[in-house]
Symmetry: C2
Subunit: 152 residues, 2 copies
Amino acid sequence: MRDFSRSLPMSLLRAREAVMRQFRPSLREHGLTEQQWRILRALAAIEAVEVTELARTAFLLGPSLSRILRDLEARNLIERRIAKADQRRSMVSISKEGVKLMASVAPNSEAIYAEITRRFGARKLAELQDMLGALEQSLAGLGTGEEASAEE
Amino acid sequence: MRDFSRSLPMSLLRAREAVMRQFRPSLREHGLTEQQWRILRALAAIEAVEVTELARTAFLLGPSLSRILRDLEARNLIERRIAKADQRRSMVSISKEGVKLMASVAPNSEAIYAEITRRFGARKLAELQDMLGALEQSLAGLGTGEEASAEE
DNA sequence: AAGAAATACTTAACAAGTTAAGTGAATGCG
DNA sequence: CGCATTCACTTAACTTGTTAAGTATTTCTT
């Protein structure tokens, strides 16, 4: 069996950890986890979203998102209101306080991202992202019962 | 602020999830989590290791590893004995039962890896892994107080 | 040799990942 | 209309990630 430390999952895990390690301390100083930060960023770009759609953009599973939204709401960083047309749906948006918090974190965060880009190289970074996207694409639909080889 | 869904951390996260999603169901059938599987694989390649060294190879933090080893030991998949030279250290090894379990999981796991490789392309895969390794390297030591620009 | 510092873990506490089950509201369809 | 089904989300239960604190053992220092 192939040396597992050289397997694709491990390479991806280590690379991501190397990146995230740069951001976590700064986020932590502001009392935010990586996931909470993802949610705020996703919300900042938009007026209001449904929870399911937010889960998709922030790449979180429903149960995780449920918990985090509960906490962010308790901290007054986000707001929720039930959609009038469909009582099942709730629309989430970032609060004024949330925007303020983002503003206080963003500069540092941007600086770190810039430094990573500088170290690795902007061109290589773009190339890497392309490959990661291609990998995702090539695996889309695998294991969902539609991975037929060619004959269907 | 850049569209966060196109940020490097998100790209890495999505790519890794796309890969891991292929493996999880098979592991689950055998009652193993991704992390437990990593540990077994790390142990299979070696006689016995210290916990700290195992944490390094399986890329797990100490506390996670402590818990998982406790559980794997209770399931008789690994064995532990205290190093005679240094009572603080304990040597971990895979048990006979652990080897058996690995043997029952490995074929499926290999097949999945092969399919991923086939879909994405072996050459591209190798290229991607190189880039991931380079990214890791370029970030090594950043944020540890030794990231001086050039003057030291 | 004795106390201080470092080392190798383990425990604790809280946040998040993962799967399954639950709840209430809308839809489909007879 | 009535009722099963689907949908949007939440809860639950268990495992892991993350940081801090704790414990025992060894090494360093003098």
